[in-house]
Symmetry: C2
Subunit: 408 residues, 2 copies
């Protein structure tokens, strides 16, 4: 049920169709022309013409397919050209900084992740380090068709300008990250910044555990708890991009103080710190310390197993509410939650059984994420590709000269 | 950011444009041709042609506008014709049953609401009563262009076939309501059924307190608590239509038993029963008993005021989580919550201040609903209009004969 609709002038139809084709190739990989006809609903001749425009602009290549053995001519195979459009992606996580160079179709040309000590770093330090990493990656690359920069950050971000309202686990508040990065990178292409869990959800949807699902709930546990929600195929951002902060649902109104200033937020019960505390380990120990807890659990430690069960129980309590709100097809557990799932799965399922409306419970599956720690970084690349995918025509025009040269 | 797109064949563009125009007129009321140009982005000549199709089919009328006093010709005023397409709407609430006859553009020709005793009624009884009400309303109407039937029900509904998985406050479980209504009404038009809060949200968005907002959270309190969510202009339904069940977020994991089988659901802390219990009144007393509590509060009763404050506090706790998840522009309080808002507003706001991320808090306003108890009924009418609005072209075709007659 749509509530609004805008009209379409005939000149906008070509743009929408270019978008449909490029999106299909970027997300789904090489397709025969016949598959594109089936998947976009366009006619064969329309597909042929539009593909021609992309080939001229170097965004797509075509090759003759091997004969199928069946009747009819083989349908040419259309491939996205990874070198035709390239993005730079960054991930500003609590424990690490990462950069990647990604080509159209999702090909990762280069990726560097540097662990860093926890604790608060200044924005200037982080921005300088990212600029350095980017310089290294770009220097050893021969890909120059850079069209945009995408950034994932462990905080609450205003999408319009990359202003970070709050990133408690980085110690940031009211940081104009977009402007700082633009200066440091001397960027000549747009920079897009979003919350890391929101982007993790997009990556899992396009290239991970949730391909083909329309309603998903991606839940990422690290120091904090992030949520990325896909509603009817579209990311939920809210009015300004602040949506998805599921870590701050009150689940225990008389519980522990949260970094955000509130009390009894979900992340105080299920985050890394809660697990380490319950297991008698040093909070703030990071991944190594979590590994130690998992090791103890494997060896049969009742303390470690009890801690995991308690975290699983609270995971299930919060998830039950979210499943009742969203009626999702899939819950994807990323980060910490993906790692501990084998130990917490049954406690989690028991709470879901108890607290979720049966109708929604019957439709949802809980699965581990597939892209691991790199999901937000890959999602940042998707964010930077989005303007091209949404309106390739606008983007082809300035490249008209190139297209003419190529066809001359 | 869209994740999927499908291509558009040129013959689908006309249909999309017809939809854009009719949706604009149905939702926004009479518009001049110039306004339609501005609002749909279509050209003046396209608008003229498409309006002509609607006029021929009796869905729209045009009248010459009064001269504006400015330069240029006055732009003709285009009106939706309420008698050109009519829907029947039902509301199956816990305390009442209602029926309405609504014309295109939202004109309510007739509306009947019958209070009924609480407690569980059989599906057969309810269906019979609705059929009776409908017969009365239709008998005294001279509107015969019935295009569909919409139904709001206080339960968890599968949208595809109107199967009610659960309606705890009606005492229903696994009820094929769609099929039962089709039989009882001897319906020759499609029947669409959805949850009452989901439909209340749609009505408030189109014709009530939330006109023009894209991200809203409609919260309706009665015996149970219902939620209707609009995300980026579109209703959130989830995979099967079960979404929006915010009454069953666990907010107090060791709290009271809920009708749904869980424990500590939000509706156990903020529903009508909680208010009456806290105020020392008979639970299950309905609206009259709630009025008595409000009367006592107005007279300064500390018990009544304390009960309202406690409900306000829990309202704020649950809402804080929802605001953190959705980053909405507007929270619309309907039903019980709208009535008690003057008494609970400050306790609610205090919890929001404490528990909501400041970035999202700054953007959200909490307002009372404008359509009162009739919001779900009016939303049910919108649901029944949706197929016509989404694809008027498909609908114009079978009426070709009528259109010819009219223009002959």
């Amino acid at each position: 049920m749509r509530l609004y609709a805008v009209g379409q002038r005939s000149e906008t139809v070509r743009r929408a169709n270019l978008s449909a084709i490029l999106r299909e190739l970027h997300t789904g990989g090489p397709r025969s022309r016949s598959e594109l006809v089936a998947r976009t609903g366009l006619t064969r001749s329309a597909i042929r013409g539009l593909i021609g425009e992309f080939v001229a602009a170097d965004l797509v290549s075509e090759e003759r397919a091997a004969p199928l053995g069946g009747p009819g001519r083989p349908s040419p195979l259309v491939r996205p050209n990874p070198e035709g459009a390239v993005v730079l992606a960054f991930d500003i996580a609590v424990d690490s900084l990462a950069v990647a160079l990604v080509g159209l179709g999702g090909e990762v040309f280069d990726m560097v992740r540097v662990q860093r000590p926890r604790g608060h770093s200044s924005v200037a330090e982080v921005v300088d380090q990212l600029a350095e990493q980017a310089a290294v990656v770009r220097a050893r690359s021969r890909h120059d068709a850079l069209i945009g920069i995408g950034v994932a950050v462990a905080g609450v971000v205003r999408r319009s300008d990359g202003f970070v309202a709050m990133a408690p686990n980085l110690g940031w508040r009211d940081v104009p990250l977009g402007a700082a990065l633009a200066r440091a990178l001397e960027a000549t292409v747009p920079i897009w910044i979003a919350n890391e869990a929101d982007l993790g959800a997009v990556a899992e949807l396009r290239r991970g555990a949730a391909i083909g699902a329309d309603d998903i709930l991606y839940l990422s546990g690290e120091v904090g708890v992030g949520g990325g929600l896909i509603v009817d195929g579209r990311p939920l951002t809210g009015v300004a991009g602040f949506g998805g902060e599921v870590g701050h649902i009150p689940v225990n109104p008389d519980g522990a103080a949260c970094q955000c200033g509130s009390v009894g937020c979900w992340e105080t019960e299920v985050g890394e710190e809660a697990l380490l505390r319950l297991a008698g380990h040093q909070p703030g120990g990071g991944w190594g310390e979590v590994d130690a807890v998992l090791e103890e659990a494997r060896a049969g430690s009742t303390i470690a197993l009890g801690a995991l069960e308690e975290v699983g129980r609270w995971l299930g309590i919060g998830l039950a509410g979210l499943v009742n709100i969203f009626n999702p097809r899939l819950v994807v557990l990323g980060g910490l939650f993906g790692r501990i799932q084998p130990f917490v799965g049954s406690a989690l399922a028991a709470e879901l059984d108890r607290r979720t409306l049966p109708a929604s419970r019957a439709l949802v599956r809980v699965v581990p994420a597939r892209l691991g720690v790199d999901a937000p970084l890959l999602g940042a690349a998707e964010l930077a590709f989005e303007p091209l995918l949404a309106d390739p025509a606008a983007w082809l025009r300035p490249r008209g000269a190139v297209a003419e040269r190529a066809s001359a």
